[in-house]
Amino acid sequence: MKALSQKRRHPLAAIALLLMGLLVTGGLYAVATTVNQAKADTNTYSASDVEEGGKLFAANCATCHGMGASGSQSGPSLVGVGAAAVDFQVGTGRMPMQMNGPQAQKKPNQFNEEQTKQLAAYVASLGPGPAIPEAGVLDEKGDAAKGGELFRTNCAMCHNAAAAGGALTRGKFAPALSGVSGQHIYEAMVTGPQNMPVFNDANISPEGKRDIITYLKQIESNGSPGGADLGALGPVSEGLFVWIAGLGVIIAFTIWLTSRTS
């Protein structure tokens, strides 16, 4: 320490100080810019994100989830649910919930991206949990065929083989998956929102999840090769169609054929 203080009047001291200052500023700036670029990598939230998120949480979520997200009679504790759960629930408009019911309904988002991120940062700061997935698993470049097999085995019993959705007990349901972003699909798998089970990485590897997302996006972009898909709901909509449209048109023709010009 003495040596350092002795050299403080060294001719190069001012230059060294200037260099240090520049390095620190530049380095900080570099860190700040990579945070901005790698938006998906939100494991590193800034302290201000956490702070802002805390304020938003207290104002909008704490009524049910309790102060400090420790849970209450009306809502579960969110300690350890992770940023992925927040990004899914808030990012699809399910939270804040419009009303109590069998399950939270999708609706227009109540928070913008920035606020969603801040809320996620706050909840993630409370305890470790599933993070928002990295871009690598969302690139939709996996193996669609393998994804289809995984989907049929793990997802189709609720979401329907064509991902058209299906009913669960007592008013609950598995939604249709067309138009859902890959990120939200991934987050749903790792956090198990509403009545969905959690598919952790031991259950379906991140690679498998990537395949599933690839499959879903591919069947969505493929469209329906055989013409209008009638909701992809299977024999019920086909039966309705043949009785109402098919037989209806034919009855119109029979009436025309047997009518007489009078």
Partner: protein, 559 residues
Amino acid sequence: MSSSLTPDAPVFVAKTTGGRITDFVDQRVGGSGILREFGRKVFPDHWSFMFGEVALYSFVILLLSGTFLTFFFDPSMAETHYAGSYTPLKNVEMSVAYSSSLNISFDVRGGLFMRQVHHWSALLFVASVSVHMLRVFFTGAFRKPRELNWVVGGVLLILSMAAGFTGYSLPDDLLSGNGLRIIDGVIKSIPVIGTYTSFFLFGGEFPGTMIISRLYMLHILLVPALILLMIVMHLFMVVVHKHTQYPGPGRNDGNVVGYPLGPVYAAKAGGFFFIVFGVVALMAAFFTINPIWNYGPYDPSPVSAGTQPDWYIGFVDGALRLMPGTIGDWKVEQVWFGHVFTFNVLLPALVPAGILFTVMFTYPWIERWITKDNREHHVLDRPRNAPTRTAIGMAGFVWYCVMWAAAGSDLIATHFNVALNDVTYWLRALFFVGPVIAFVVTKRVALALQRKDREIALHGRETGRIVRLPHGEFIEVHAPLDEYKRYKLVGFESPAPLPAVPNEHGVVDRKENRRAKLSRWFFEDRVAPVTPAELEAAHGHHGSHEAVEAAASQKTLSH
């Protein structure tokens, strides 16, 4: 010896080559005689008489498109890896049957279209058979002499369901495999012989390696052959019995009023084939049916949400869905003598269908026994003029529809935002209450319509014009009915209950007593048709009004 056989008699020689060929064939086949006989057959014209034709034409379309599909379909359950052009299934392990179905869909030119033509016309086939049967039932066309043809029609309905189901299972995709699994479960639930039957059918434990090729043989050989045989019998009997007709002036049980088959009616019927084909082709071109590529290959472990059979098996699936596994604390599945009796599968799968078909097949004889009506009937009943029969029919129809709706309970829940459990509870209640409500309401509606007919026949149609008479009375002007329209309203039978009649020993036995009770139940609520005397009286009573009405209508005419 007739003169035509003498050698020197003038022999007819046609002028043109075509004529000579026709004459040659005719002399050996006798075509002109057949044509003369059939060309003169008279068919009454009514749109509701054409559903049988729709069914026949759908069947022809099925044969044509089905033949195309057999060129490319391979009913083997050997395992293969998909190498066709549908990328989401690339290299997936599957059966040859499923792979060849995918190839028909994606790699055979026009294959997907033909598959969709085949499937849509199958749905239309069973639908038109059903509507045809409903028409026959509600108009009383099953009565003597057509009881046996009604039974043949019922057999055709069952055969068409069998044809549909065996075809539904062929692509070996996840959906059809799930359907087969349910059939397997139903077979296994039959006490004692169930498991053996399942093993024989599948050639071992489900799903085995035999079932697709076995179903294929049934689907393309046995069932269509039986259907064809039944259609021949059905049409033969139609020719023998002649066609029924709706009541109308000049129509009775001894004649048929309508157009001769040739040439106009035959042209219409022939053209109608192309209309049906056109409608099916349009549906196949623009609407997907059974997108097997969505479902993936069959694998006994996954079961997709929204797994349903095609509509005609739906009522059995619905009954299965409605059946509770426990009633209170009592388990429907029982273990007796160390054997499991799965009544929660056996009862819903076999009992409702059994009741429906038994009543359907025996109904002509039930009604004949109750009414003791042994006459031939060629003039149909308007459904309102047989209130109890119509009510019975509607009760059965509603019962069927409740089970039918239950097959789509999950989709009702998701699409109408209601709870699946509530849908099931309501449908369970309706399963018992629905037919009763339908019976009562239908009978009341039929009787009310009959009373309305009676009113109109007696007093004419209400015009809504109010006229004040010179002495201050207001009356509504009734437009008198012309005789042809009135005939339709009064020309029906309304039998009174038939009391018990003693047999040859002078004793009223229990069976006869029961019949008399049923007869009372059948006919006690009745609206008698207007008699000529009543009509006369009504007109006499309204004499002064009629004069006004006549004057009023004169006035309207002069405007």
